[in-house]
């Protein structure tokens, strides 16, 4: 029987909440992994070049940078909330009826914190 390669999924197979949670978790993880080295470098300037660091911190007060910071903070909060949900599923246990609620709570907490940051900072 001659057989050939397989067909793949498209967006229609991906319309459920848990899938979007995965996308948010993965994309936020990539963003944070790329941001971390930059973050460490900037902070390390505190000893050697404090004046340069202060100029940089001043620059971050600009609205465009503030928006990016809010997005970063949202990424961190979302990755945390999604990660805690996964740890619960894998180590505490699965209840089918809790899955949608867990997703909603995680999303609410992440967005709530990011909103707090945007308003207060």
């Amino acid at each position: 029987m001659r057989t050939t390669t397989a067909r793949r999924n498209d967006f229609r197979a991906r319309g459920h909440a848990a899938y979007w949670a995965f996308v948010v978790h993965r994309v936020s993880g990539i963003a944070l992994a790329l941001f971390l080295p930059v973050h460490f470098f900037v902070l390390s300037q505190a000893l050697a070049r404090p004046a340069a660091l202060d100029r940089f911190l001043n620059w971050t007060q600009q609205p465009a940078v503030k928006v990016s910071e809010t997005l970063l903070v949202l990424a961190l909060a979302a990755h945390l909330a999604g990660g805690v949900r996964l740890l619960l599923v894998e180590f505490v246990g699965w209840r089918a009826e809790w899955q949608k609620s867990a997703l909603a709570i995680a999303a609410a907490l992440a967005c709530g914190y990011a909103l707090l940051f945007a308003l207060v900072a």
């Binding site: 390669t5 067909r7 991906r14 459920h16 848990a18 899938y19 894998e90 180590f91």
Partner: protein, 242 residues
């Protein structure tokens, strides 16, 4: 009843192998029509060369699983009204399995992975021993009850994006069956099965998309089984028993 009075609708059915294409057929719309009815109509009245699989046609065997408007489903249990609200129906073979022809896929890789995950029972007693006594209300038996109804239809496998991204990934059905056996107190495979389901193509590759759980026609939750396997494999590794 005059045939001219019957309304028809457009159905796009995959023809050929993986390099094939959709072909349009105009099919009469009938009450309580299922997608399997549509495919059968085309094969019997329009094009006898259309290849497809079915058996029980009452939602018990899983043979009629196909991709309907992009989602893997049992076509005998999918009413046209439920999926073709705007009158458009697209029928394709299951994803992630080699396409033999038209709507028929090669199920061999699916069952090969079942075997790779050690998805078969390893007996520990003989006919000379007494029957095993497993209390129905015990935690282990309830765990088995929740996962054992799988009939190997491959809808979950076709729905899983990790299967699509990692061709070696054992997949939700094989892992679900492995967990069912891990929960079976009579089974003797032990750590060997946990080793079989661990690895880059094993349970740790699951990203909890829950596509399998969304689509399983028997309402099983392979995501839950795989999460349990992750936990059991981790504990075995930490205890040095893997």
């Amino acid at each position: 009843m005059s045939r001219d009075a019957e309304s028809t609708f457009a159905v796009h059915i995959w023809r050929g192998d993986a390099g094939g294409a959709f072909r349009r057929y105009d099919v009469p719309r009938r009450a309580s029509q299922t997608v399997l009815d549509v495919v059968t109509f085309v094969q019997r009245h329009v094009d006898p060369s259309l290849a497809y699989r079915y058996a029980c046609r009452v939602g018990m065997c899983g043979s009629c699983a196909m991709s309907v408007n992009g989602k893997a489903r049992w076509t005998c249990r999918t009413h046209v009204d439920a999926v073709a609200a705007d009158g458009a129906l697209e029928i394709a073979p299951l994803n992630h399995l080699p396409v033999v022809r038209d709507l028929v896929v090669d199920m061999a890789p699916f069952f090969d992975k079942w075997a790779k995950a050690r998805g078969s029972f390893v007996p520990t007693s003989t006919r000379r021993d007494a029957f095993a006594r497993v209390e129905p209300s015990s935690a282990e038996r309830r765990a088995v009850d929740a996962t054992i109804e799988c009939i190997g239809c491959a809808v979950c496998y076709a729905s899983c994006d990790v299967v699509g991204w990692k061709p070696d990934y054992l997949g939700p059905a094989a892992l679900n069956r492995a967990f069912t056996l891990v929960s079976d107190v009579r089974d003797g495979a032990g750590a060997a099965r946990l080793r079989a389901v661990a690895g880059d193509a094993g349970c740790q590759a699951c990203h909890t998309h829950q596509s399998c759980t969304e689509r399983c026609p028997k309402q099983l939750a392979p995501t839950a089984s795989i999460a349990s396997l992750k936990r059991l494999v981790a504990l075995a590794a930490i205890k040095g028993k893997l």
